[in-house]
């Protein structure tokens, strides 16, 4: 999967938030997106995920040679996670249910991996900040996406959880999932990235 952005411009009212001529993200990338608050990181990611239309410009998704197209293409993880008003387990099952897949083993694995196995029947709205964050990750990653756009996924996580997620992402990435990570801190997760993008003053700079 290859995501291509051409001549993207996002403007609110009179001001341009950012202008990006050319950008691409492919399944073998692992990118750390950073930049000051309010610069437009979340907006950019939502545009890339197709959840928001940019003021102008186009976003294209293209398959890569020999790719399995059954995989959910691009998943965006909200900075501030929304959990469905059911229990933990059925939140994780959500995406699978949408594509009419029943795979108890996958769900169990994701729950265990997110450290939520003992909470599987707790109502999601009761969870603690970190538990919510981990549930949202599990819910996305169980779908085995081609590209995953993570918006501050570690903001509420303890160090153990961060390490666990790093492992999991590493594994996904090795199996061919592209990763875009917006994150203010430097931690195990950002170290996993092989590219760094800086969004600042309305411009995106691709760093080493």
């Amino acid at each position: 999967m290859r995501l291509e952005l051409n001549n993207i411009c996002q403007r609110y009212g009179e001001e341009d938030l950012f202008v990006i001529d050319q950008l691409q993200l492919i399944s073998t990338d692992a990118v750390h997106l950073h930049g000051p608050n309010g610069v437009g990181k979340s907006t950019l990611m939502k545009i890339m995920a197709g959840l928001q239309k940019p003021t102008s410009g186009e976003v294209r998704r293209m398959p890569m040679a020999g790719e399995n197209m059954r995989r959910q293409a691009v998943i965006y993880l909200h900075q501030n996670t929304y959990l469905f008003d059911t229990d933990v387990r059925s939140n994780v099952e959500y995406g699978l249910r949408m594509r009419r897949e029943k795979n108890t083993k996958k769900v169990d694995k994701a729950l265990a991996w997110a450290g939520l196995g003992h909470l599987e029947y707790r109502q999601a709205h009761l969870l603690s900040g970190g538990e919510r964050q981990r549930l949202a990750l599990a819910r996305a990653l169980v779908l085995d996406p081609a590209l995953v756009l993570l918006d501050e996924p570690t903001s509420n996580l303890d160090i153990g959880s961060v390490a666990r997620i790093e492992e999991m992402l590493q594994d996904l990435h090795r199996r061919g999932t592209g990763i875009l990570l917006a994150c203010h801190q430097d931690n195990a997760l950002t170290k996993l990235c092989n590219q760094h993008w800086l969004l600042a003053a309305g411009k995106l700079t691709v760093q080493a």
Binding site: K46, A49, G50, L51, Q72, V74, I75, Y76, L77, H78, N80, Y82, F84, D85, Y94, G95, M98, R99, Q123, H125, L126, S128, G129, R139, A140, L143
Partner: protein, 236 residues
């Protein structure tokens, strides 16, 4: 009020003893209103959703009109429908006047704007991330819609209960297009109107209480379901 109590207990005793006439009347009320509600529900929810999530020219006018339609007396809706269904009217050949289907159509017209208005408000209050999350996790537009319905289910339940109340309690349209014909189109409210017209107020109130009791049974079952599936929301 002693009077009332006697009549009411007689009415309930009649119900319990299976008095076919009273049960027939109750049956007309509930079957007509339930049919109307079921038929109107999905189109109304879709309309509410459209108004909540799509910006289009005329949207604002549509919402204002909708709210205003709530202020139209049921008898006016009944009158308009009567004029359409009357032999002298454009749909006279359908032979629907003074039948239950005509009553159902009237009540559909009555509950539709209410359901749209209330579901619109429910959808507007819903978190914008519901649809975004559903979509990004691979839900089709229809699936995302269903997810949203589920997330706002308590508000929708309130809408359904209110709409049901509106139509089961209405008399204007039922009287106008149903005609209050015994054994055919007489429902609880037209029967109340009849009794009241005769000066049989107590009988009227007793029938009203029968309706209240039936609604109570319905609501208690609903409430029971709800209270057994719901824990209070907290925020951290």
């Amino acid at each position: 009020m002693n009077d009332l109590w006697t009549t009411f207990s007689t009415a309930i005793a009649q119900l319990l003893s299976g008095d076919p006439e009273l049960w027939g009347i109750v049956g007309v009320s509930f079957s007509v209103s339930a049919s109307a509600l079921l038929i109107a529900l999905l189109p109304a929810l879709s309309a509410g959703f459209t108004l909540a999530y799509f910006r289009f020219p005329g949207r604002w006018v549509a919402i204002s009109l909708l709210n205003s339609l709530l202020a139209v007396p049921t008898v006016v809706v009944g009158l308009v429908l009567y004029m359409l269904l009357s032999r002298a009217g454009p749909l006279g050949d359908l032979n629907l006047l003074f039948t239950r289907p005509a009553m159902i159509i009237g009540q559909i017209l009555l509950c539709f704007p209410l359901l749209v208005a209330m579901s619109l408000s429910a959808f507007q209050a819903a978190d914008h991330r519901v649809l975004e999350t559903a979509k990004t996790l691979g839900a089709s537009p229809l699936q995302a819609f269903v997810t949203l319905l589920f997330e706002v289910r308590f508000a929708l339940l309130a809408a359904v209960v209110t709409a049901f109340g509106r139509i089961i309690a209405e008399v204007g349209s039922a009287m106008m297009v149903g005609g209050n014909i015994l054994h055919h189109t007489r429902n609880i409210t037209t029967a109340i109107a009849l009794e009241t017209g005769k000066g049989e107020f107590v009988q009227g109130v007793a029938l009203g209480i029968v309706l209240l009791v039936m609604a109570l049974i319905l609501n208690v079952s609903l409430g029971w379901m709800q209270s057994h599936s719901r824990v209070l929301r907290h925020g951290t």
